[in-house]
């Protein structure tokens, strides 16, 4: 979707907020949001791509106003209802209904020391790449209304395949519940001048990770 989260190249966002000796969490509730979110994700009722899309679906003004973990919290309040952890009445009343569904924790304290992501292998010789390193490509001019990881600033621009990252889940279909549609992912090098015009440094470039379905031969 052409959402406000797709920030690359925008102006007017102000100076970068840097902080010396920054804590991991600024408030205790931020840590609780983070841990609660990861504990729910362990139930595997949604994909990482669907999770990201939930945050993109926040109203744009809210997205810009909220802090990072406020966004997580707002998206989580929608998600717990949509995926059946809580009924809308339970969320609004704060009380568990006696006859509603119950479950067991998917993440326990003992599992935390080995906590990590469990991504599928990128090695799958049965899926052939459509492009090869060195090839000139164009990022397609796509404007899907759903989740996508093709940033607006790259659409229609030409670049070169810098490296093949192997086979990865395709975010657009994964977020929409249409399956992983695994395909090759590449690091594509775009000259800064191709993206931003003659004012950009002729030496500089931006590397973007893009899937087969986002690319066409140039």
């Amino acid at each position: 979707m052409n959402g406000v989260h797709d920030l690359g190249g925008m102006h007017g966002m102000g100076p970068i907020p840097r902080e010396e000796n920054e804590p991991v969490f600024h408030h205790a509730w931020e840590g609780r949001v983070y841990a609660l979110d990861r504990s729910l994700a362990a139930h595997q009722r949604w994909t990482l791509d669907a999770w990201r899309h939930d945050i993109e679906l926040l109203p744009p003004a809210d997205y810009l106003r909220m802090s990072y973990y406020e966004r997580w919290l707002a998206a989580m309040e929608r998600r717990v209802v949509r995926y059946g952890f809580l009924t809308p009445e339970e969320l609004s009343s704060g009380r568990a209904a006696p006859d509603s569904a119950r479950g067991a924790p998917a993440l326990t304290a003992a599992m935390v020391q080995n906590y990590g992501r469990n991504l599928a292998s990128a090695h799958d010789p049965s899926i052939q790449p459509l492009f090869h390193p060195g090839q000139r490509v164009r990022a397609r001019n796509l404007h899907p209304a759903g989740h996508t990881r093709l940033p607006r600033y790259a659409r229609g621009k030409c670049g070169d395949i810098a490296r093949d990252h192997g086979v990865h889940d395709f975010p657009d279909t994964s977020a929409a519940g249409l399956g992983p549609k695994r395909q090759h992912l590449y690091s594509v090098r775009f000259a800064a001048r191709e993206l931003w015009g003659e004012a950009a440094s002729p030496r500089d470039s931006v590397y973007i990770d893009l899937w087969d379905d986002y690319l066409e031969p140039a």
């Binding site: 840097r18 609780r32 952890f85 809580l86």
Partner: protein
């Protein structure tokens, strides 16, 4: 918009996040879906066990061991597994080497993707709309804001983390560190230098 509608919108989003989180945690615990002890353990994990010291160990090893650096640049997950820092299979990591002629900078314009097994959770600046919007269009201006002025003949490569591939920058080893051991070198390596937002300074005299 009328004042009435405006008020209504605010009511639909309760203001105190601490209370909202507490209510969610209490409900989800009562219904059995989450274990509060796991929440405590996860918070402790990210506050005390995972952080930029992991990445600094990788950088220091790359500085003292050229063969390790070659393996790291060719296949980062395999090289990092040698150090026992990441046990999970499937973390897709790429290491990028900063040199006198090439400067790499990592961003996630679409959200906040970050190599947390090596660097911990990202700082607020990395997740900010300011950094995410500007790093790709004005990397030299961003670096200047961080106090790093790059010469015009240095090539800047910005890496936008749009997929599940995570990038870590191997900064240049500072001059005057020839006599330092691997642990002392690791102490010099900062979080920001492994994102590409800073260089590593030599030891304070």
């Amino acid at each position: 918009m009328s004042a009435r509608n405006h008020d209504h919108q605010h009511q639909a989003v309760p203001s105190d996040p601490a209370l909202r989180v507490k209510a969610l945690e209490s409900l989800l615990t009562e219904k059995g879906y989450v274990d509060p002890a796991a929440l405590d353990a996860l918070i402790d994990h990210f506050e005390t066990k995972v952080g930029p010291r992991n990445g600094a160990k990788v950088v220091a090893r790359a500085w003292v061991d050229p063969a390790f650096k070659r393996r790291l640049l060719a296949d980062a997950p395999a090289a990092i597994a040698e150090l026992g820092l990441i046990r999970h299979q499937g973390e897709h990591l790429v290491a990028l080497e900063n040199t006198p002629s090439v400067h790499n900078l990592v961003v996630c314009t679409l959200c906040s993707c970050y190599p947390w097994p090596l660097l911990g959770l990202p700082p607020v600046w990395y997740k900010s709309t300011a950094y995410r919007s500007r790093a790709v269009i004005d990397p030299r201006g961003v670096l200047r804001e961080f106090g790093l002025e790059l010469a015009g003949d240095v090539e800047v490569r910005v890496w936008d983390s749009t997929a599940e591939v995570r990038y870590i920058v191997i900064p240049e080893r500072p001059a005057g560190t020839e006599s330092l051991g691997e642990n002392e070198l690791a102490d010099l390596v900062t979080r920001d230098s492994m994102i590409g937002a800073a260089k590593v300074s030599g030891p304070r005299p």
